[in-house]
């Protein structure tokens, strides 16, 4: 599973970070990025899907 945060959509609600701090980093301005190259380790896949389903801006995409 691969995911990315669309920087044009992300508004910094920080729900992704709240659910999965191991995978998301948020800068001082609220912009979220996926840590590493976007690959989700298998043990985090379920929570990554939750992060996608909780982002109020539909900013997180599963790319593959």
């Amino acid at each position: 599973m691969n995911i990315r945060v669309d920087p044009d959509k992300c508004q910094g609600h920080a729900r992704c970070y709240g659910l999965l701090p191991e995978l998301f980093d948020i800068d001082d301005y609220g912009l979220s990025t996926v840590i590493g190259d976007g690959t989700v380790p298998p043990e985090l896949e379920e929570r990554a899907r939750l992060a996608i389903a909780n982002c109020p801006e539909y900013a997180i995409d599963e790319t593959s």
Binding site: G12, H13, A14, G18, D28, G30, N54, E57
Partner: protein, 402 residues
């Protein structure tokens, strides 16, 4: 005493200050969503009230047609005075601004409320909660709104702004005048005047003796080679106080009301502490406190409604969060709800700049309460009262506990 004429039709003559709307708006929204999902009223000007998630978020994202130059839910009657124009020419940015002013004033503020900064306020918040509880009269009763919820956020914000915590009651009074009594021109004006005069003195002081607080830093910040205008710093300071207090205390109060009236949820939190983070989001969804206004910039037809330039639209985030099209069993509070794209903190470019702080305060305030007072209920024969309009939450919440 109701401050409004009775409402008989919610679709064509709604009033967000109606006592029924304030104390129990949920069924009104459900009915509107089924028959007339965007209600209208001519009370206090021409106003529209969307109730569906899709409409509320679409309007929040359409900044071209829906401007933030007027965000009050109770529009300000009459023209701003010369004095106001001189002192606050930009209103309270970033909340009252559109891009480009919005963009850079928001960036000034965001780092102060990043989740890293916010961690630094957690210990203070915890102490404030504990000392409020320690101050309850013996005998197992307290007003969870006035003696608890209301006491916490104002003191945290005072710390961020670098103003004395001892003035908490004064700040609370001004903010209530501005938000809760916005339909009373005199009170609204008095509150705003109090805030402005106070901060003008504080700014002078910081020009001479800068500290490390938000006000001092903003006064000494350069943007594109020039110091930020003082009237902008004043607007930002007033905004942080106005946006950071009533909102969060209302969320804490509503959540405590829920827990006081739902013993099964108290039990669940005690037995499954791992659901706390989801529970916080669910309580924010179900009892979202904040509704915001927008000004229609040019005639536009939205979802079949003929909106005219100069009309107001109320971004009804609380109703959006109860929309069954978006949330399964929307009317039920499900503490571990897994899919919860709530918009309690707004949607789009104005997403609450203080949301990290608000979330931390809500979590800590509920954790500390539940640790100290795991069992409690509404005191029999006593009345719970609610405030509403821009911000909805309990104002009196008398509870008893063993």
């Amino acid at each position: 005493m109701p401050r409004t004429a009775p409402v008989t039709r919610w679709d064509t003559d709604f009033d967000v200050l109606d006592p029924e709307y304030i104390s129990n708006p949920f069924e009104i929204w459900d009915e509107l969503r089924q028959g007339c999902p965007i209600a209208h009223t001519d009370r206090r000007g021409s106003n529209w009230l969307p109730t569906r998630y899709a409409d509320v978020t679409a309007i929040a994202h359409d900044i071209e047609h829906f401007s933030s130059l007027e965000v009050g839910v109770i529009p300000f009657d009459g023209e701003p005075t010369e004095e106001q124009d001189r002192v606050l020419p930009y209103g309270l940015p970033p909340i009252s601004a559109d891009p480009p002013l919005h963009t850079w004033t928001r960036r000034l503020l965001l780092p102060w409320f990043s989740h890293r900064r916010v961690e630094g306020y957690e210990e203070l918040t915890r102490e404030l909660c504990r000392s409020a509880i320690a101050g309850f009269d013996a005998g197992g009763r307290a007003d969870a709104a006035e003696e608890y919820a209301q006491q916490i956020p104002v003191r945290v914000i005072a710390q961020v702004l670098g103003v004395p915590i001892e003035l908490a009651d004064t700040f609370t009074g001004w903010v209530r005048d501005v938000l809760e009594f916005a339909d009373d021109e005199e009170r609204r004006f008095r509150g705003m005047e109090g805030l402005i005069k106070y901060f003008l003195v504080e700014l002078e002081e910081r020009k001479k003796n800068p500290g490390t607080d938000l006000l001092s830093e903003l006064l000494h910040t350069e943007v594109d080679g020039a110091l930020v205008e003082e009237s902008l710093v004043l607007g930002v300071a007033a905004l942080v106080l106005i946006a950071g207090i009533d909102t969060t205390w209302s969320a804490i109060g509503s959540s405590l009301w829920h827990l006081a009236t739902h013993p099964e949820d108290r039990k669940r939190l005690a037995e499954e502490p791992e659901i706390w983070p989801l529970a916080i989001e669910e309580l924010l969804r179900a009892y979202s406190p904040v509704t915001m206004g927008r000004l229609v910039t040019s005639d536009v037809e939205f979802a079949g409604c003929p909106m005219k330039e100069g009309d107001h639209v109320l971004l009804n985030f609380p109703a959006a969060n109860r929309d069954p099209e978006t949330f399964e069993d929307a009317e039920e509070v499900i503490l571990d709800r897994a899919h919860n794209r709530h918009v309690a903190f707004g949607s789009g470019i104005h997403r609450c700049a203080g949301s990290n702080l608000a979330r931390m305060e809500l979590r800590v305030a509920l954790e500390e309460w539940m640790k100290a007072i795991p069992e409690f209920r509404i005191a029999e024969g006593e009345e719970v009262t609610w405030a509403g309009g821009q911000v909805r939450g309990p104002r009196r919440l008398p509870v008893v506990f063993p």
